[in-house]
Symmetry: C2
Subunit: 254 residues, 2 copies
Amino acid sequence: MTKGELIYNGKSKSIYKIEGEQHHVIQTFKDDVTAFNGEKHEEIPNKGYFCNQISASIFRYLEAKGIKTHFVLPYSGYEMIVKKLEMIPIEVVVRNVAAGSLTRRLGLERGKKIVFVATGSDPNTHIQEVPIVEYYYKNDELGDPLINDNHILTFGLADQSTLYSINHLARHINTFLKEYFKNINLILVDFKLEFGKDKKSDIILADDINPEGCRLWDMDTNVSYDKDLFRTGDGDFGLALEEVYKKINFSSIP
Amino acid sequence: MTKGELIYNGKSKSIYKIEGEQHHVIQTFKDDVTAFNGEKHEEIPNKGYFCNQISASIFRYLEAKGIKTHFVLPYSGYEMIVKKLEMIPIEVVVRNVAAGSLTRRLGLERGKKIVFVATGSDPNTHIQEVPIVEYYYKNDELGDPLINDNHILTFGLADQSTLYSINHLARHINTFLKEYFKNINLILVDFKLEFGKDKKSDIILADDINPEGCRLWDMDTNVSYDKDLFRTGDGDFGLALEEVYKKINFSSIP
């Protein structure tokens, strides 16, 4: 299998063709890390390696739970073979605990647990930990703005049934990932997902899942193991990535 | 009926108690006009008068169409008696044509008609003029941020059935108002609504509806008859208010 030409060059990943192959591509993880829409930029040695390995572990775990992902096989330390998809230009953010832009948007305290309280005859049975799901229009020039269902449908970013599936999948993935990270003593605060469609129009989890696009806090100390360390400069993101990688590999996650 | 103490002092309106009366209050319209979250501020002679008169006409029209509003009676040129409600802290924005923050958020051309295209076997039958409905959290300190259904439900700004009713009402009101303004040769580009609940928990249209919270364009020339004239400084908002007032009063609107 031979790596072909570069077809997409993003801030933290690239996509390459595979020679003579139509349905798969190679996703390469970079050591570059950026924040504040590209204003802050560094290279962290081995970042791409750890992000690739962690993403692969999580995709395997989710596949075992019945979630369709674009992950096929590892290709190299920094690379994985993934299904070629028609990407949906929406970033789906799932939030279990208030942090980041949500605290600024709604004036919430960082760390506030998000508990959806539904009304009902017996209030106790209706207090559930239902996450917030947000959609952002994937557009660097516009700064990935928050959008609602109406914007998505009106401007054709996705149709109603696709949007329903994405929402449903995001909530399921959240349930599985909360359990996954609980096993290694981490709280899944929030995370970003992207989806694509395959030839059959099935909706497939794409992109990556690792501490670059998730917030993960130590269950006992609330210390961050994610990109907030880079954003704030208050810690070593590279070291955190290595620690999450080790926790996953030395854990008993199925 | 005697005007009592001031109970709310907003940027463009105040609310006063009525002596010895629990269920109604007096809503007073100011000549003050502000933009950019209060940064630009002026007084426009008679603005409060025209906004009060236009709002009263529109509330009467909507009541005749079966929409419950808080409007009860005129009190003075600048004032109306309205029902006292428990306000829902959401600004509902309905958009028929792209303008203002929507053009900036999504990179759209001002004036683009918002047409929701649903998929179906016969595409022609499915092209409908369905407006975009947006929710903003009514909070000056946070700059009235855009929010989605999840934020509203999770943080208890409204429950599911209230949110459903608000959305439904907003779309009906839009249909009626488009017709209303069409009669006086104006395009209803977008507008803001606020709702409250009465003692019976019925959802009632509150606040006001006039060219301060609507965008209205001349059907032939696309010239603005609304607060954009004040925002941009490209016209006389006071004159536009007077013209809309005259159009309404000299028209054959039922």
